[in-house]
């Protein structure tokens, strides 16, 4: 690979919201890093401002996440709990987000399941 004028690869994040019972499920697709994680934070803050305080963030469509993604998730968790809400995560077992949550111990601090249906129970 050349050292000259490398163009950034496209990093896209899409977030789809749907309501399941009394929860809002945000399905995230794309890689979560320093560049893309702010879009997730903004979307969660919009939901919280609209009064949706019981959120599920579905990371099963996220093939990569770093500590910037984790930082946003923890910030969202704090924000939601402060306003009487809560946050649960969905991760594909063995996926990079699942491994990072486990490695950092955050899977013990945030309810994490492998399907949205389980997260709603």
């Amino acid at each position: 690979m050349s050292n000259e004028d490398v163009e950034p690869a496209r990093a896209e994040l899409t977030i789809e919201a749907r309501t399941m019972g009394d929860r809002t499920v945000l399905s995230v697709r794309g890689e979560l890093d320093l560049y893309t994680a702010p879009a997730l934070r903004d979307r969660v803050l919009v939901a919280a401002d609209e009064g949706q305080r019981r959120l599920v963030i579905d990371l099963s469509g996220v093939p990569f996440m770093d500590s910037s993604g984790l930082g946003v998730i923890v910030a969202c968790l704090k924000r939601l709990r402060e306003s009487g809400g809560d946050l649960a995560l969905v991760t594909a077992p063995g996926s990079p987000p699942s491994k990072l949550l486990s490695l950092t111990g955050l899977d013990r601090a945030i309810p994490t399941s492998s399907t949205p249906d389980d997260a709603l129970r």
């Binding site: 690979m1 050292n3 490398v6 163009e7 950034p8 690869a9 496209r10 990093a11 890689e31 890093d33 320093l34 560049y35 990569f64 770093d66 500590s67 910037s68 984790l70 930082g71 923890v74 990079p96 990072l100 490695l103 950092t104 955050l106």
Partner: protein, 120 residues
């Protein structure tokens, strides 16, 4: 040159994905297993983020070098490792790799095992 691959990118969060793609492809070519290549991908992303958060001017230089049985990732221009809240980036990197040198001010070196026969 076979056995060594380098990439230079700006200290810009938008290039973290470029760094990740490069590191995974180069690590595979140099005989690193998929599981370890995935860990190197995370390290690359963390180090680009660190350079941005530490306010480094760039460029960030990533190099993978193959020695018999070992591949070394060297990343310079990253600044001192920032302990990003809530995760200690230093602890994360040290937990991923046995041989991590985070001591130098602006450069990180990570050594990982690789097959004896690099494909590059």
């Amino acid at each position: 040159m076979p056995g060594e691959m380098t990439l230079e990118i700006p200290a810009d969060a938008a290039y973290a994905v470029t760094a990740r793609l490069f590191v995974v492809a180069a690590a595979r070519d140099l005989g690193v297993s998929e599981v370890i290549a995935e860990d190197l991908r995370l390290a690359a992303s963390e180090l680009v983020a660190n350079a941005v958060e530490a306010g480094r001017p760039g460029p960030i230089r990533l190099a993978l070098r193959a020695d018999p049985g070992t591949v070394r990732l060297e990343v310079s221009g990253v600044g001192a490792i920032v302990d990003a809240s809530p995760i200690s980036r230093r602890a994360l990197l040290e937990s991923l790799f046995d041989a991590t040198d985070l001591a130098e001010e602006d450069q990180v070196r990570i050594s990982v095992p690789a097959d004896a026969r690099p494909q590059a």
